[in-house]
Symmetry: D2
Subunit: 295 residues, 4 copies
Amino acid sequence: MITPLLENLELDTVGLERLIEHLIKGGVHGIFLLGTNGEGPSLDYRIRKQLVAETCKIVAHRVPVLVGITDTSLACSLEMANYSKQVGADMLVLAPPYYFPISQAEMVRYLEIIVPQLELPFLLYDIPSCTNLHLNLSTIKRAAQLGAIGVKDSSGDLGALYSIIEAFKDDGNFSVIAGAELFLSDVVMHGGHGVVAGGANIFPRLFVDLYEASVRKDLGQVARLRQKILQIHATLYNLGDSSTRSIMAIKGSLSLLGICSDYMAPPLHAFEAKDRQRISDYLAGFEWVEGGIRH
Amino acid sequence: MITPLLENLELDTVGLERLIEHLIKGGVHGIFLLGTNGEGPSLDYRIRKQLVAETCKIVAHRVPVLVGITDTSLACSLEMANYSKQVGADMLVLAPPYYFPISQAEMVRYLEIIVPQLELPFLLYDIPSCTNLHLNLSTIKRAAQLGAIGVKDSSGDLGALYSIIEAFKDDGNFSVIAGAELFLSDVVMHGGHGVVAGGANIFPRLFVDLYEASVRKDLGQVARLRQKILQIHATLYNLGDSSTRSIMAIKGSLSLLGICSDYMAPPLHAFEAKDRQRISDYLAGFEWVEGGIRH
Amino acid sequence: MITPLLENLELDTVGLERLIEHLIKGGVHGIFLLGTNGEGPSLDYRIRKQLVAETCKIVAHRVPVLVGITDTSLACSLEMANYSKQVGADMLVLAPPYYFPISQAEMVRYLEIIVPQLELPFLLYDIPSCTNLHLNLSTIKRAAQLGAIGVKDSSGDLGALYSIIEAFKDDGNFSVIAGAELFLSDVVMHGGHGVVAGGANIFPRLFVDLYEASVRKDLGQVARLRQKILQIHATLYNLGDSSTRSIMAIKGSLSLLGICSDYMAPPLHAFEAKDRQRISDYLAGFEWVEGGIRH
Amino acid sequence: MITPLLENLELDTVGLERLIEHLIKGGVHGIFLLGTNGEGPSLDYRIRKQLVAETCKIVAHRVPVLVGITDTSLACSLEMANYSKQVGADMLVLAPPYYFPISQAEMVRYLEIIVPQLELPFLLYDIPSCTNLHLNLSTIKRAAQLGAIGVKDSSGDLGALYSIIEAFKDDGNFSVIAGAELFLSDVVMHGGHGVVAGGANIFPRLFVDLYEASVRKDLGQVARLRQKILQIHATLYNLGDSSTRSIMAIKGSLSLLGICSDYMAPPLHAFEAKDRQRISDYLAGFEWVEGGIRH
């Protein structure tokens, strides 16, 4: 989930409630806060805590709430982990600390320190484009031994993801979750367990339907829904050359759809008027966005 | 300056005082807190603030105190900037926010937002190995326009550093400072202004002497002192294969010399006994470390 | 196809014939010479030409023969292109020249120079791990305008590959071919056209069967065959830490199966005895390699 | 030395003779053919051989001739090595084969194969921007054991270069040579042995004078001459955004100075008219290029 922000970068609590209801009505199976799309690292701890507390209250256990606790400071990660448990979140999500370049062995050592101090179940999070460490299979296996209940792989490296699925195929307790929307059906049909889709902020039902079609192995429906995601990628996510343009596009779309505002915490920034207009045009052109946000 | 930590990762205030007196006695021209060697990003804000306040009190304006305020959160950077001013620090040091991959243009936009809110003079900090953005000359020039009083270049890219010196050679108000110890004499003799040397935690006098010899263009003395730094690099900094081994070596040396302990905040970690012994042997072998830490 | 070599690095013509018959009997739809698995860049032009001429003679148009003409020298690429046409090859395969780091625009300029001089149809070849240029969609579109009949994408970036399939979905004359074996079924089921599979040197029928199952959308069969490829990746391709270990494993397997020898042109090298034994053990353990190379 | 080419990409033999006389008159201590600036990998073997033979004839042992033999094919490298010896070249220069990503250990293995077959002395050549392997100190030491007479370091990593100088400081037979023009005086004053300067194609006397001033430790003269090189970098080498723009600028300058033409082998290309005019303006503005090419 993205983090709705006001112009002064305070939490947009009205937008937050609208967004959460939009997601739950769309059928999502869980809500992940403070990840990359959630601009977690850009927010201060007051806002992060407020977001988690408000979200837990609004969600009220209708779906699990997952909280990203990744930080360069162990103490800060633990503070967030403890707070999340206290206000009723369900799970934690943890990527490598991301300032110092560390090795796989140093990441394992780090996990050995932090994991025993986590009081909620946690997912490991692989996102080398932001953390500069592409977790290898051996590190992921060690995390599983330490208690990780799964991995969210946002590496874009589907070959590695397939190796992870293969390695854990007999472990009913370990979930392999893709971070790339386009890989949802591939991952689910080949034995993985789901996707964390930024685009589900806008079109939750689309991704839920694709998930269900993938589980049913309904290839016709998979092709039909997947085509819409390809269309999103070729249009909404394809504006400008910022490496974070998909996050900008998601917030921009939500703003245009009247759900929440599109202010972003620096160093990210909203689109200028021209690109905002193009998003508007794209949204209007999606025949599956009628009367608001249906598909 | 490294950050002296106790085993429970609280600030080692006794070690801190000993270290600061060691540095000032060694003749350093300033003390930079919470940089990469200072494990800034690994520390929580309570410790960071305590470190800045204690240091300012101990230093008592004998030399300028510079505070690293780099963070992925603008609000956190500003909080640190304000606190630093409040407790009497002299200058700030700012590297790019380091989670999202951003472009030069996005860094400029970020500077345009943060700089007007800084109430102390600031140095720009280029350290692509940790931030993944190698600031180009155009970004550095824009930072200077916005008010940067200099740049600390820890890119290891001396070619770029020479271009920066050339570009600012007629600007008497902009300092070009190397982050790589071995480049001290080259940078100073070619028109740059100094170095932020991690090794000066152990051997402050050595680096001060080299600086002064470089200013005097005393090539014989430069060669003699530079040789010692080469020796440090080939021994102390050359243990193991961690990318942060030089920081580990500096803390380990300070511990062996009785100045402060060598605990490190995760994900960094102190050397094991075997490498600690090798540091001890190396230090004993430096004829210029007699009766403690002289050179 | 790998290039069978004798110990003196001359062409193993006996092995070549056995390998080609093995491939054709296995049902492959074409044979690609002098690619990455074929150690093209490591061979001198005498051997490259001999390989192409001999292969064309042995194949005798039973399947198309594609020839990799990638080189850092335009003149050498053209010499190979002309020779290929002369001895009866069917198509050419062209990756970026790979010494100088070039931009997308410089690659387009290069294509505009070389393509008009090619007298056979050609496939564009994207393999950034070796050429350091990840061809973007705009460059691929320009190549198509210039006459490319398709692209072989060995980038490992399935997200980009899906975008290519989407971009060319209405162009019946442009083939999108994966270079990663594990992506075969995904690519074919989502509208792509095939795979160039190094593993097909050993197990051609396996990959042909998977291709056909993917075309038929026979998910049960896809899962069964794909499982074997995952097994190959987790065993044969997983020995040692050389970045070229899969090529070493393919040649080693072919040698153990009595098809051709496993000598490799420097800088590549065959496995030592211990890893060779492990390959042997793995092959023996594949229940689908009975009485030789069946599956 | 760059390689003078005609429009049809044949060798510009008239330009070659003028260029060589220009270099020798300028006082260079040797001529290195077929390196990166020499577009070695872009030329076919007929041209490469013609260049070496013609150059050896024209030079007639007035200075040593070094020949780059780097290739992805061992056989091609050896062919060039043998030919170079046959026509009277003095030394060879060898970088890693550059298609397959190889490890330091694989590079050592490669050296162990090729070096015993080289009949001329050879320099190792580190240029990771083109070969993707940054030779480490251990590999360089092994090359020295095998017979390398020195290393040309074009990594831009002056820290590593200083470590190499330190490691070989007691070895009178091993030369450490920089590939980056701006590092000439630093390297020579700190114990290194020289530079291979692309800019010396245009201004040989400038670089020879700087070398001699560096040897004499004449800091005033070093500063004066180094300033001109900085000026070259800020002007001539700073046009456009091609990663090979300095090679384009060198050829363009030589063309404007009437020495040879500026045709380049694809994928490199000459500047368009506008940038060519800017080069002309820059050259005219250098007060040290009067009446031709003096400084």
